[in-house]
Symmetry: C2
Subunit: 213 residues, 2 copies
DNA sequence: ACCTGAACACCGTTCAAGT
DNA sequence: ACCTGAACACCGTTCAAGT
C-alpha cells in the first residue's frame, strides 16, 4: 500500500515515520512491562498508554483494539519459533530417521524453552482472545517442514507421509504445550527431553518401510 | 458443613434448599444458552442473570464472581471425561501392550469428541481465566491411570514406568488438544484415530522389555 | 501528521432494602 | 432465607479539538 520512504532522521522535530516508530516501540515495551508487573488481568489500555507515555487515543491509532495489541506480541513470538524450526529443518535434510526424529524433537524443545525463558510475560495471553488462526498457521508450517524432512529421509519411505507428518506435528506441539500449562517443572522438562525424541523415533520406525534391508 | 435435609417438596412456597437448587440450575442453563448464542465475548453477568430470570445479586449469591461461574461449567466437563477414562482403564487392566495402547488412545478420543459434540459451547472458555490448576489435576489423574495400566500389562515391563506414563499422558492430551484448537476438521480427526493408537503402541514397545521372549 | 483526554456505553461487583 | 436492582468503580473505545 505505502511505498518505502527514505529513512531520514532529523535531530529535533523528528519526521512522522520515525516519530510513530518510536511510539510503537514504546507501546510494545510498555505492554510487556505491564504484563510483567501484574499479569493479564492488570493489563489495561489506559495503563499501557500511561506507561508508554502516550494518550489512549494515540494507542488506538496503531492498534484498533486491545486484542490487536496482544495479538502483535504473540505473533512476534510465534515467528521466532518458526524461524528457529526452519533453521533446524534445513540442517536435518537428508538425514536418517533417527537423526531427524531426535533433531526435530530437540529443536522444538529448545525453541519452546528459549521462548519461555525470554518472555514468560507473554504466556497466558492466549487467554484473552482467539488464537486458533495463529495456531492453525503454525501447525501447518510445522507439518509442512516435517513432511519435507521425512521425504528427504535417506533410510526409509513412509506409506502415508502426510498423515505421519500431521501426527508428528501434533505430538510435538501438543505434548510440550500440555506440560507447560499443567506442570512446568524442571523434572518434567527433563522427562520431555529424554522421552519425546524416543517417542517420535519409535513412531516413525513403526510406520515406515526400511529402504536398505 | 450442612447436614443432609429430607427432600421435602411443598407445592407452593417451595422450601429454601429446593428453591436455590432450581435457581442454580437456571443459572447454569442460562450460561450455556448465552454461550451458544454469542460466545464468550457475549457472556455477561447481567445477560446470564436476565436469561435465568433472576437478578444479578442472586447470581452473586451462588457464584462469587464471573470466573466461578465459568469454572463450574468447565469442571463439570472435566469430570465427565475423567469418569469415562476411569471406566476404560478398569476394562483394560491386565491386557497386553497393544490392547492397552489402542484402548487408551481410543477411549481418550471418544471422551474428547463426545465432550465436543455435547457442549461445543464450553470450548474457548479456557480463554477467560486460568485453567492451569484444573489441567494439572487432570494430567495427574491421567498419568496415574496410565501408570497403573502399564504396571498391569501382561506382556512387558517398563524400565522407567513413571516417565513413560507421563509422556504418554502428554502425548495423548496434547495432540488431541492441538488438533481441536488448530484445525478441528473431520479429516484430521480421522487421522488422529488412525495414527494416535499406533504412535502410542510404537512408543510403548520401544521403551519396554518383552516378558515372554 | 500526530497526539490529547473528556465523554460514552457498558461491564463486574456490592449492598441497603424488600419479601 | 432468598431475592432485588440502583449505585459504584472501572473498562474499552471514540472523536472533537489541539499542535
Amino acid at each position: 500500500m505505502s511505498r518505502p520512504t527514505p529513512a531520514l532522521l532529523k535531530p529535533r522535530k523528528t519526521p512522522r515515520q520515525s516519530r510513530s516508530a518510536v511510539t510503537i516501540e514504546a507501546i510494545h515495551h510498555a505492554t510487556i512491562q505491564v504484563l510483567l508487573t501484574g499479569g493479564l488481568g492488570y493489563l489495561t489500555t489506559t495503563r499501557v498508554a500511561e506507561r508508554a507515555g502516550v494518550s489512549v487515543g494515540t494507542m488506538y491509532q496503531y492498534y484498533p483494539h486491545k486484542q490487536a495489541l496482544l495479538f502483535a506480541l504473540v505473533e512476534r513470538q510465534f515467528n521466532l519459533i518458526e524461524t528457529a524450526m526452519g533453521e533446524a529443518t534445513t540442517q536435518l535434510m537428508g538425514g536418517d530417521l533417527r537423526t531427524i526424529a531426535h533433531g526435530v524433537a530437540t529443536a522444538w524443545l529448545d525453541a519452546k524453552m528459549a521462548d519461555m525463558v525470554a518472555s514468560r510475560a507473554i504466556y497466558g495471553i492466549s487467554a484473552e482472545f482467539d488464537l486458533s488462526e495463529l495456531m492453525s498457521r503454525a501447525a501447518q508450517t510445522m507439518t509442512a517442514s516435517i513432511d519435507a524432512l521425512l521425504a528427504s529421509a535417506c533410510d526409509a519411505q513412509l506409506a502415508d507421509r502426510q498423515s505421519v507428518s500431521f501426527m508428528l506435528a501434533a505430538l510435538l506441539g501438543g505434548s510440550v504445550r500440555v506440560v507447560m500449562e499443567a506442570d512446568p517443572s524442571e523434572e518434567n522438562f527433563a522427562r520431555l527431553r529424554r522421552e519425546l525424541p524416543q517417542a517420535c523415533h519409535a513412531y516413525l520406525v513403526a510406520t515406515s518401510q526400511s529402504v536398505e534391508r
